[in-house]
Symmetry: C2
Subunit: 873 residues, 2 copies
């Protein structure tokens, strides 16, 4: 038997149903399902996606497709008592594409197919409305001409405008039957001229041409681009739905509308939508008349409304999810034209998932899977009021989500000063450095001209949960004169701007923001997520404040505390610089003795906040020159402030200069060459822990050595760490468990993880650096080519955002497997930026990591993602 | 039966022989073997290395060792008719350490053991020489006191000096028997005071104490350090040789000497050495008297000389290698005390290996293995005359071997100018950049203050076979004022200095150099090497001149031609800069059209030189900013010279600035973002190849895409390359085979080599960059910590010099295995600096690479190393 390429639906039965989405497309499956449910749907048939794929590959229709269509068409004609091309009682159909997933705008619709210069007369008679018939005919010629024959839309519009002008009317509805008749003639002539052939008058030809056009549209550039962006396979193809026309524009007893079964913005359980009396769907889109709220339909057409209510309730119960429906009323009779799963905001998604569990419609597992982790960001940060209309003057990288409004300042000191006097500021810099931490902390948002998604500004901003637009190359910043130019506009210090870290936009002036809402339903949904996930979720946090936020968001520990961030605060930077400038170990130790009390204070705060939970503290990581000023001007300033000699400072700065600081003298290499620095840090950590332990607080320190490449490095530093810890613990007389572990952030560490694990009680994969080294890409410099790379599909995603599974992922998995081969109880986690990315979290779950660690504001996303990963595996 | 810990030798028989080196140590095995050969050797016994290992682990002698020693001692006493501790006729012995390999200076010797205040009287009587007896006794107390009892040497010397002073004599030999008697009393008192115990008078105790001291010395710090440096296992232990004393200081019929069976400097077949009449070995060392050439012995002791000649000839024939021998003549009787393989210079090694094959002593395979590849560098570069005595003012890294003398200049332009007027110059820079190529080319040698073994200066200098000392941190260079200060000395422009790239030394003034000698024997030995090796050897060469040198040295192709080096020469840099400054593709193409003729010319020269051999050409690799000036001053200069705007140039420079250029916009990333650049290069390559092919020259181009991380990059660029090549070939109407391949220099490329190989006909492992990324170490910045790392044994060798087998090596092997899994005939090579390192070459052979590629001057080393690798596997 030949394969079935055509599926009929109508009169309460259908050959397909909702399970046939892949074959019939979303629309076709929905129509079939609704028909089966006894819901009034204009009859028709669906040509399958397989037929499209066949056509796309061979340029021919599959065998028997046309015969099967003929059978379905006859069935359709019989059921309606009309015939395609019948002069007295013509059947009109719509032809619509419908892929497995919705691809809006990819392909236009052809309505009123079946009209020609003879059937239009029959339609006029049958409908008793000549104007309606010719209006339909001219619309058909235009749509068909545009979509199928490639005659540009605007050429038809030109004649329509001229006609309105000559008749001295403003809108289409003021034109009469004769006007449309004349327009039809003009349109037919236009098509003949543009295509060199008369407009196809044979409805059977029209149908085949329309179907072929829909098939062909699958491979047009626009569709291909859309699929690439939305990761839709090129092999799926589209189905084609051929359906009897119904008309909402046949008088005041007709109309059309769209509706959602719940409010798609808030998730509230109300019937939500709008309708127009005496109109077709395209009139709603055209925006000539303002639709009315769906509730008003009750007054206008009470019977229809009652039917519609029954239908939408039936559909939601049936699909167990919010439905987005389209309907038409033709002379008092309701027809459903589409039902599909409704798109919704994050807020609505959370509320609907929550409510449907309470209503018994879905279980918790389904509810958790209904909310996309990627969406949650919306709920956690302020955003520009969706009602606002604005234009941006520049667009950078969406480096840290949320939006912010404030006055522009150009350096961190100004930021702090302005905020002290009650201003809200946006810190605008070419790039930020650790020196700017104070200013970043008080600013509403951060805007930089250079640097990528994982530049200093971006990383720190995300850590602070603060809005940031980075790498906005269009900005021409003059930091000294305190202004910047973008998009031809000059913005001076003190001018208001708004930045949108979710989209990367920079907007002049102050735009209204809406606050995030961390609703009760949200908290409940996350609790449900926790019931399903097996992956632990920790946060990257450097301060007690960060730690508190993280804990509130549900973090189960700190996975990464960057001790160097503590080196900048207040006076301590002076002692740190003194340490760096010391020319021998003894002077270095003297300076370190000044730094130590600060560090200890930091750890006391952190441990207190995280009582009962593990806290992973990474020893000093960045190269020392990061703590020194760089320009002559700054060197001068620091020299004056600290009482150091300019020359001495300057010499040290140039002595410490590195060509590739990322691959330079940093991480454990500092611990090897200056053991006293790491020793001071370990003393500070373990003394703080012992003090709190004496107070009865449960402290769980995990000391982490960064940038290990060779097991010997770790062996040397672990020995030192254990010696110091045991000495302090013995002296304190407390019982304290602590772990010593390492970051795995260099390929060599992953490759030799079996050796490294002999010296490490835990591994934390530092996938930022591991990505940089494995791919050989500096995240700070990648801005110049990585967008091209993602665009050309070399990397499907920015590998600094979503883990590169084939390369970096391979090393991470190797690290886990090899590490556990020599230490079966090895604890493993990830603390790179990827720890907050849903796809990466899914990967972490699959390879059996114990936990992910991400910025506090991404903890909810990580909890939900981890649940998704567990439920899907 | 108990294990045998003691091996007797004497009277023509021995329990061990030369095959027992591991058990008896080199010295013990040599003594046993000589005894077996009927050569006169004072009898004795060897305590095995196993006994030492047992003692080292447990602190106790192994069971039965002492009993076995007692048996051997009795045998010794019987054979000589003397007894240890016998008052009338005392046996005296020497106690010497002797490990598997020679560890000179690790452990002192104890001579004359067996003397005490009673036996010394017997010795005086038996020898009829009281002075000799007490001289021997005081020497024994001092040696034993120092070595075994730990009484410092200088405290004994103090009494000896005082004695000489009081007797008013200058040298020891002027002291008489009574003086020594008095000294003996003073020494005995000294030992008693220092150790709190009387000097051990019982010879049996003396012997056990001495043996224990030798055992213990295996684990002293000096020995451990020596072993670490020389890669000797700590588990080997040392043997102890106890041997009857013979005395060369018993009058003019006695004497002592050392000799080599051939000249160890030149390899000439002459008996070479020196001797002293009436002396002990230590007198030779003390340097009080000047030894006489061995040939003079023929006149002094003709019979002994004849015996000695017979012995040395027997030994060389027996061992089939040059021997280093020690002998003593006691009252006209010859005793051999040691024979071992003689150390020799590279030149001698080559000549001896060559000659011995011709003499039928060894086969070619043995000859090849007799020459160490590491040594060959000596033969390929000028070196400081070994006879010169000099002091250095600073020491940097030995970045490129050989030595050079010249006048100091501080920039490349001066270098070229000075050389034009006939001067020889040394180019001194803080660091070199590609801009300096011209100056480097004409300079005798290069000296830099910063940068490591693989810095630009080092890499380029090695490529040119030019002497270079890099990273000499002690230099304080003022490039503007044109002077530098080092070791307190100020060296101005035009002053002569000498640099030694083999040691890293910097010397004031002009030191005499000796030229390299590429002897006929050397060429023959390399030909023999070629018979054994399976690994191909290519050279890294960028110019026809380099290529010619490489070919002369035996390179079988070019493994890496760096096209960017061609970008700097002469005028072309202007066109290159124009290309970089172009703001759109069309302007870029215009500038590229100017560069192309130059590139094509380069390739024509290269292909011609390498006719019949493959030439691998790498497309542009460095980031574009490397071609732009960096300081404001240079920007100004370039702007003027090229007619560009200062501001425009300056903006571009800052626009292209990168934080980590090593991980930046370079390699194939340039090819992806500016396809027209690579396209121009491919046109130039393939047009040059086609032209020559038309002339009938065999051209084998291999086009190599650098820095691939993802197969898609290669796919895109390979498509372009094939399109261009096929177009040009078709147009030319020739038949030309070419290959398209890639560098594997990023971990991701190795990890996904199975994918990458689908697009590559060959892989060339760029182990410089692969080491940087795998270890996360920038070679330009590593100078600050890598020496510490090598010193602390974290990496046994500088991983940029010798491949890090466990990490980088693992990726290379993975790359080969995975690459061949999808393309079995994949050609694989290595073109990093490691391609010229013997240990790395051995690794390349083991994992089955097809070839190594190194700088032209290392081709001979690579050929020999490859032969060693093949012969050893």
């Amino acid at each position: 038997m030949a394969q079935q390429y055509v599926y009929f639906f109508g009169n309460g039965t259908a050959e397909g149903d909702a399970t046939n989405k892949a074959l019939l497309g979303g629309k076709g499956a929905g129509l079939a399902e609704m028909t089966q449910l006894g819901i009034p749907v204009p009859p028709g048939f669906t040509v399958t996606t397989e037929a499209c794929v066949h056509y796309s590959k061979t340029g021919n229709y599959p065998e028997k497709m046309q015969e099967q269509m003929q059978v379905a068409l006859s069935k359709l004609e019989t059921s309606l008592g009309k015939k395609l091309g019948d002069i007295a009682n013509p059947l009109l159909v719509s032809v619509r594409s419908g892929a497995r997933v919705s691809m809006p705008g990819m392909m236009d619709t052809v309505l009123n197919l079946g009209l020609n210069s003879e059937t239009v007369v029959g339609l006029a008679k049958a409908s008793g409305n000549e104007r309606f018939a010719y209006d339909s005919y001219r619309r058909f010629i235009q749509m068909f001409g545009d979509v199928v024959l490639g005659v540009p839309h605007h050429k038809f519009e030109h004649y329509l405008s001229a006609m309105k002008k000559s008749r001295n009317v403003a809108i289409d509805t003021d034109l009469g039957a004769d006007d449309f008749k004349e327009l039809v003639e003009q349109f037919l002539a236009l098509v003949a001229k543009e295509t060199g052939k008369p407009f196809p008058q044979n409805p059977a030809d029209q149908l085949m041409l329309a179907i072929t056009a829909v098939f062909g549209s699958w491979d047009n550039q626009r569709a291909k681009t859309y699929r690439r962006i939305n990761k839709i396979s090129d092999d799926w193809g589209t189905a084609v739905n051929v359906q009897a026309m119904v008309f909402g524009n046949m008088g005041d007893d007709s109309g059309t509308g769209v509706a959602f079964t719940r409010d798609p913005s808030t998730g509230e359980k109300i019937f939500f939508g709008e309708f127009l009396i005496n109109a077709q769907g395209e009139d709603v889109v055209a925006g000539i008349r303002t639709p009315e709220p769906i509730a008003r339909l009750k007054d206008v057409m009470p019977v229809v409304f009652e039917q519609l209510e029954a239908v939408y309730q039936k559909l939601e119960k049936h699909y167990r999810d919010i439905q987005d429906i389209e309907f038409t009323v033709e002379r008092g009779k309701l027809f459903m034209l589409q039902t599909r799963t409704g798109k919704r905001t994050a807020k609505a998604a959370v509320k609907i998932a929550h409510d449907m569990v309470l209503e018994g419609l879905i279980d918790k597992k389904t509810a958790v899977l209904r909310v996309l982790p990627e969406q949650l960001d919306q709920l956690l940060h302020p955003m520009i009021d969706p009602k606002e209309v604005y234009t941006s003057i520049a667009k950078g990288l969406p480096a840290s989500p949320g939006a912010a409004v404030g006055k522009v300042v150009f350096n961190a000191e100004d930021a702090e000063e302005w905020v002290t006097r009650g201003e809200k500021v946006i810190l605008v810099r070419n790039e930020t450095s650790p020196d700017d931490i104070g200013g970043m902390h008080v600013a509403e948002g951060i805007l930089t001209a250079t640097g990528g998604m994982t530049s200093h500004a971006a990383v720190v901003a995300r850590g602070m949960g603060k809005c940031c637009v980075a790498g906005c190359g269009a900005l021409d910043i003059n930091e000294r004169e305190k202004f910047f130019i973008a998009g031809g506009v000059t913005i001076k210090e003190g001018d208001f701007i708004t930045i949108n870290g979710t989209t990367g936009e920079v907007v002049v002036g102050s735009v209204t923001l809406v606050s995030p809402e961390f609703s009760g339903e949200f908290a409940i949904l996350l609790d449900w997520s926790d019931e399903f996930r097996t992956l632990g979720v920790r946060a990257n946090a450097d301060t007690p404040e960060d730690a508190r936020v993280a804990r509130e968001f549900g973090a189960e520990g700190i996975g990464l505390c960057r001790t160097e961030h503590m080196f900048f605060d207040g006076d301590r930077i002076d002692a740190v610089r003194e340490m760096i400038l010391a020319s021998n170990e003894s002077d270095r130790r003297k300076a370190l003795a000044k730094v130590k009390p600060y560090q200890k204070e930091d750890f006391l705060g952190l441990f207190r906040e995280m009582a009962g939970l593990p806290v992973t503290i990474r020893l000093l990581d960045p190269p020392l020159h990061e703590f020194l000023p760089h320009t002559d001007e700054d060197v001068q300033k620091v020299a004056q402030a600290s009482g150091l000699h300019f020359d001495q400072l300057k010499r040290k700065v140039s002595e410490l200069h590195e060509f590739n600081p990322m691959l330079g003298h940093r991480g454990c290499r500092l611990g090897i060459t200056y053991p006293e620095v790491y020793e001071m840090q370990v003393y500070a950590i373990i003394e703080a822990a012992c003090e709190l332990k004496k107070e009865g607080i449960d402290v769980q320190p995990e000391i982490m050595i960064p940038l290990i490449g060779h097991v010997r490095e770790l062996e040397i530093l672990r020995e030192m760490t254990v010696r110091v810890c045991d000495e302090v613990i013995n002296r304190s007389g407390v019982t304290l468990k602590y772990l010593v572990g390492t970051m795995i952030e260099l390929p060599r560490a992953a490759l030799t993880a079996n050796e490294v694990a002999t010296q490490a009680e835990f591994f934390s994969f530092g996938t930022n650096d591991l990505t940089q080294t494995t791919l050989g890409i500096s995240r700070d410099d990648a801005g110049r080519f990585l967008p091209d790379y993602v665009h050309q599909g070399i990397y499907k995603e920015d590998p600094f955002v979503s883990i590169d599974v084939a390369g970096v992922g391979q090393l991470v998995e190797m690290g886990v497997v090899r590490g556990r081969s020599t230490r079966p109880d090895l604890k493993t986690g990830i603390c790179g930026e990827h720890g907050g990315d849903p796809a990466s979290i899914n990967f972490c779950h699959k390879i059996g990591l114990n936990y992910v660690s991400c910025s506090p504001y991404r903890v909810p996303i990580a909890r939900l993602s981890a649940a998704h990963a567990a439920l899907k595996s």
